[in-house]
């Protein structure tokens, strides 16, 4: 009897603690929202300016036609990957610690995809012809080039976005019902509508469990397919440093690596600000740190293989490209990338550091810097220095591109801040189930 009462009170406390984040916002929160909104506005203003004036406002040139904007696209698609990893893959592998992170990671996936989707549009210049990418019925018989991975991208990212949104929403329905029960007035009514009449009956749980499992099974191969296709945007080209068979698994691992780092970057402050320490424990962070270490090792393996085989074969262009990356115009960025992606994560072999939240936060930020630079180095260095010395060049970013990139972070964090205030940040029912 007493045990049952303790259980009910623990469950009630969990609901109260999680829903506390959805109450009236504080001044610091509003200031953060204001700052992020300003940065997001800057993004849209600069994009508008670029659309009206032309792509000359960017630093792109001949031969470097893909640069910062495409770097941002690949970076944000990569960030989107850990959400599905934590929600779907770890669910299939029955890893219980996922319940502390899955809601935030799923939200992160959707927001990162929204931000990523902007960059091909910005990069188009004439954004109003974006529908050229879609398989629309054209009277002029001009069909999209289905042999181009850029078109595959449209399908892959859109599918991933749809499945991620459905997965996020379905997973949240029981928690929305809790919000309906616990929050008074209009918010309660809105959550009531969103919870789609959830009553928690046995029949509903059975259907819910089955749907969640199927969605997880659908989402898992999508993790691999989306970033594989992003990698093929580059790899199918016959460009030194791009045309290499390891690109697909390398990009997938890199995406999970950067996404996991972003999960750390977001959840460590969120845990503290929303007082979620009892539910997101240091053990849970240690498990995430192990994923970070594992993916870092895969990335390092790929660096070694790529560079090693460039010197193994008979291709002087390939060899020259990797020498250029290491010692050429972007050597500093290359060095930072190696330190952030390969060397610093090795510290996670030390248990004490795996369990140190300040270090994990710092490492999360550094890994994201490293992964952004990795994409930049891959994209820019290969285009700047390909086959013909006559066509070599360099790239310097413009402040408009830089502003758009900073603005994309503002937009992402703004969406995440709104999520943290409007929706339950932890999967309450799943935590109850496992506790």
């Amino acid at each position: 009897m007493r045990d049952e009462a303790t259980e009910i009170s623990a469950s009630g406390r969990l609901e109260t603690d999680v829903l506390a984040g959805m109450r009236r916002p504080g001044l610091r929160y509003l200031a953060a929202v204001g700052l992020c909104a300003l940065l997001a506005l800057m993004l849209f203003a600069l994009w508008g300016g670029m659309a009206l004036t032309g792509m000359g406002l960017s630093g792109k040139n001949n031969p470097v036609g893909w640069a910062m904007l495409i770097t941002n696209f690949v970076f944000w698609v990569g960030i989107a990957h850990s959400g599905t990893l934590i929600s779907a893959v770890l669910f299939l592998f029955r890893a219980r610690f996922r319940t502390s992170f899955n809601r935030s990671a799923e939200a992160m996936t959707i927001f990162a995809l929204m931000v990523a989707g902007l960059f091909p549009l910005i990069h188009l210049g004439r954004v109003w012809v974006f529908y050229f990418l879609l398989p629309y019925p054209s009277e002029r018989l001009i069909w999209p080039n289905f042999r181009s991975p850029l078109v595959w991208d449209v399908f892959a990212v859109t599918t991933y976005m749809i499945v991620s949104i459905v997965f996020f929403y379905v997973g949240m329905i029981p928690d929305l019902a809790i919000a309906r029960r616990r929050l008074p007035g209009l918010p309660g009514k809105i959550y009531g509508l969103l919870s789609l009449g959830w009553q928690g009956t046995l029949r509903q749980w059975r259907h819910y469990g089955r749907l969640y499992l199927f969605l997880a099974a659908f989402a898992t191969p999508l993790v691999a397919s989306v970033h594989s296709i992003v990698s093929w945007d580059f790899a199918v080209s016959i460009v030194p440093g791009w045309h290499t068979t390891i690109f697909a698994p390398y990009f997938v691992a890199g995406a999970i690596f950067s996404g996991t780092a972003m999960v750390l970057t977001l959840t460590i402050p969120m845990r503290r600000l929303l007082h979620l320490e009892p539910y997101i424990t240091v053990d849970h962070f240690e498990a995430i740190a192990k994923i970070l270490l594992f993916t870092s090792l895969i990335i390092t393996y790929t660096y070694i293989v790529e560079h090693g085989l460039a010197f193994y074969g008979h291709n002087p262009f390939e060899r020259d490209q990797y020498l250029y990356r290491m010692f050429g115009d972007y050597r500093l960025l290359f060095a930072i990338m190696i330190v952030c992606n390969s060397l610093l994560p090795l510290t996670l072999f030390v248990r004490r550091l795996r369990r140190s939240l300040p270090w994990l936060l710092v490492l999360g930020v550094l890994v994201n810097i490293g992964m952004w630079l990795e994409r930049f180095v891959i994209i820019v260095a290969s285009l700047a220095h390909d086959y013909d010395p006559y066509a070599w060049g360099t790239y310097n970013f413009s402040w408009v591109e830089f502003g758009i990139s900073v603005g994309s972070f503002g937009l992402f964090f703004l969406l995440f801040l709104l999520f943290a205030r409007l929706l339950p940040v932890l999967a309450v029912t799943e935590i109850k189930e496992h506790s």
């Binding site: 199918v236 698994p249 193994y312």
Partner: protein
């Protein structure tokens, strides 16, 4: 009826018999052909290293299926010593490699032998450490599993790049190394699937249903690995086909233009991807030991066919010798698993450890 079993005392003798028998078949002048030993070595190195790696991963992530199969799987760890011995046997065959005539800084016979031998011995040493710790439930098991996995990945990468890819030097595929170690893990899981099928009924009868249930995860993992294998295969094939560069695509073109290689490619695609994917799609199939065992056997055959597909055009081999060598190897593996109670430390020894 008496059965043949090995003990720790007689194991080196049996091992020597195996190596001498393989040497006899390879160099006895029975038939011409040079590639059989290389193929046997490549295939069994993947299998033996892969099955220990599968156990190491299971130990690291706390998977429950390993509990029932631990002794059977880890009984094979002494066999890791066979690979370095067979590599020494391969020395007279190194002229198979196109680089042997014009050695370079990386690809030259002494360095080739030295690094591969060192790595195979490192795999044996780390595998032994891991297996013994895992068997006695040592808390340091995860650390030794990580060390073994490092050695395993490095060794399989070199198996791919040195032993197989360099047969077609200067052909390159950067994915080849990762492809090989994932395949080795896949092979290891398939071997676990066969063990699961062979696990004596009497051993299961004494156990509760909850203890036997985790074995079903092997079916699930085989299904997952079939998708992963399919993805990696496609990623590699697509790039070579799409790029259509003469120096790259010739590797595929040469193999798809004639029988039996074209038939082999259809077979290994079916055995490694289509059959496990479709066969294990249903829940009931994943729970059936027979279906999992059959799929596992098919996957192993598919992986063997794929290795044959890689090596055959460069190093022709007589089918008879190839079959004899591999059947002999399989029999030796079965004998090792069968003799596990004599080969592995007993409960008393483990408690003393």
């Amino acid at each position: 009826m008496t059965t043949v079993t090995m003990s720790r005392g007689t194991f080196p003798f049996y091992l020597l018999v195996l190596v001498v028998a393989l040497a006899f078949f390879e160099y006895g002048g029975l038939v011409a052909g040079e590639g059989a030993l290389l193929l046997t070595l490549v295939f069994w190195t993947a299998l033996l290293q892969g099955v220990i790696a599968a156990a190491a991963v299971a130990d690291l992530v706390g998977a429950r299926w390993i509990t029932l199969l631990r002794r059977q799987i880890l009984a094979a760890y002494p066999l890791l010593l066979v690979s370095p011995l067979l590599l020494i046997l391969l020395v007279p065959r190194l002229d198979l490699y196109p680089w042997a005539a014009t050695p370079g800084q990386w690809l030259n016979a002494p360095f080739f032998l030295l690094r591969n031998l060192a790595l195979l011995l490192a795999v044996y040493g780390t595998g032994r450490l891991y297996a013994r710790r895992s068997l006695r439930g040592d808390p340091r098991t995860p650390a030794s599993a990580v060390i073994y996995l490092f050695a395993f990945v490095t060794s399989q990468t070199l198996v791919a790049f040195d032993w197989v890819m360099s047969l077609e030097y200067p052909w390159i595929s950067t994915l080849f190394g990762a492809y090989f170690f994932v395949e080795a893990l896949y092979a290891g899981l398939a071997l676990a699937g066969i063990l699961c099928f062979l696990l004596p009924l009497r051993q299961r009868e004494g156990l509760a249903a909850a203890e036997v249930r985790p074995l079903r995860d092997i079916g699930l993992l085989l299904f997952g690995f079939s998708v992963l294998w399919g993805g990696l295969f496609f990623a590699q094939y697509l790039l070579l086909w799409y790029g259509n560069l003469p120096e790259e695509v010739q590797f595929i073109a040469r193999r798809l233009e004639s029988f039996p290689l074209r038939a082999l490619s259809v077979f290994f695609l079916t055995a490694n991807f289509l059959a496990p994917f479709l066969g294990l799609l249903g829940r009931r199939a994943k729970r059936s030991d027979r279906v999992v065992g059959a799929v596992a056997a098919l996957v192993l055959t598919g992986l063997f066919a794929e290795r044959l597909f890689f090596i055959l055009p460069v190093a022709p081999m007589p089918v008879g010798i190839l079959l004899v060598e591999n059947i002999l190897f399989f029999a030796f593996w079965l004998l090792t698993v069968h003799s596990r109670e004599q080969l592995l430390p007993t409960a008393t020894e483990r408690s003393i450890d």
